[in-house]
Amino acid sequence: MLVNKERTFLRNPFCRAVVISKRPLMREGLQIVMKEKAAESSQILLADYLDLTSDILDKVDVVMFELDSSQQEFIEQCDFLSHLKKESQHVRWIFILPLHLRNIAVERLLTAKTSLLSLHEPLSNIIENLFNNLGDIDIISNSLLQEQVSQTSVNDMVKTSLTFSECRVLRLISKGWKLVQIATVLEKNYKTVSAQKKSAMRRLEIKTDAEMYAWLFSEHGKRELNIPPYNQ
């Protein structure tokens, strides 16, 4: 189970780490795991990433950061982080990511001395990344890469060509408006709006409302309709 008896080689058993996670038991868990592997290691536990200062960074080798936010918050975090990264170049950064931040993290965070790990990372991999100073290389863990973004629907293959008014109706629907309300706002007859919705669904080869909403909130749908990333 969790207690791995075999002694793996640790290049740096004196590893000093900062752990940033909103989840107390996760922070504690990491501390226990590290102590078990190497009693000489030390940890600083933080709940909020804003507590991370360059003073702290001077005294550590590794920062382990569990990202756990919406995409918008993440973009703010990125600015803060890239500033810190520039200042303290000796530190190795390990990010633990949820799936929905994977692509944006690869784009924004992946620089030298950075590892991106999944929430479901096996223990051996975490240890490897923490203790064995892996040099300047950047790493995306296999388990992160293998996680599937929710099934890509058949519709993704179809090149959609919605008309302007169909897009407009769908965009309003995705905001939670009823057809009657849309009709009032657009000063059109209810039947017109309904027909536009229907023909949009036909073009997308969608049969039910549920499928339509699933499409509206899928990556593909949002791109098609130019809806900003849907958070919360």
Partner: protein, 216 residues
């Protein structure tokens, strides 16, 4: 005031379904060193393995992780439904990483009694876990309570769950009425009541929840 809690069966375990190894290590440490609980702990990393473990081994309680990713979430919801049917008398403790209001409301309307946020301090986690052994009322950790804003949703009735599930699958009210052999108006009022209990305001909210629950 230290009270030692054990269940009647000495072999019984606490099943912890938790894919994140670090959090699992934290839970083990808390349960072993904290006061009160002396049951053995069984950590299950993959929820697909949980079904066999639960049928084959005696256990006192299940602690289930609820994740943010919708594909995982769909599996976890499936598990809760299965477990409630299989072991209606056993306690299932939700240890949630997901803090969406609609998801939390849906969970509690499925008849889950104990919901603890993963942002909660270890001491609160332990305290609630011990409480859940002895009490039979609904327990929500402070953060969850705050999110649900004290207005605890009522449990959904069997009919309401049936209707909501079919709606989420993409049938419309008329079709559901035909499936169930009910009047459209009956189904529609089931839908209305269920949405009220779940705090959903419009069809969009319903289908957003649907997407989350089915992993689309």
């Amino acid at each position: 005031m230290k009270k030692i809690i054990t269940t009647s069966n000495e072999l019984s375990q606490i099943m912890v379904i938790m894919p994140c190894v670090l959090t699992a290590a934290g839970i083990i440490h808390q349960l072993k060193t904290g006061p009160g609980i002396k049951d053995a702990i069984n950590i299950i990393k993959d929820i697909d393995d949980a079904y066999d473990e639960i049928l084959n081994k005696p256990h006192s309680m299940v602690v289930l992780n609820i994740s943010n990713s919708s594909k995982q979430l769909a599996d976890e919801i499936k598990f809760i439904k299965w477990y409630r049917k299989e072991k209606p008398n056993k306690t299932i403790v939700i240890y949630t990483h997901n803090h969406k209001v609609s998801i939390l409301k849906y969970l509690s309307s499925l008849g889950v009694r104990v919901i603890i946020s993963q942002y909660e301090l270890p001491s609160i986690f332990m305290e609630m876990l011990i409480k859940s052994f002895s009490s039979s009322i609904a327990l929500y950790s402070p953060m969850i309570k705050k999110i649900l804003q004290e207005q605890m949703p009522g449990e959904l009735t069997v009919c309401e769950i049936q209707v909501i599930e079919q709606l989420i699958l993409g049938h419309n009210v008329t079709q559901v009425a035909q499936h169930l052999g009910r009047d459209v108006r009956t189904v529609s009022s089931h839908k209305r009541h269920a949405m009220e209990k779940l705090g959903l305001h419009c069809d969009k909210d319903l289908h957003v929840l649907g997407c989350d629950l089915t992993g689309k």
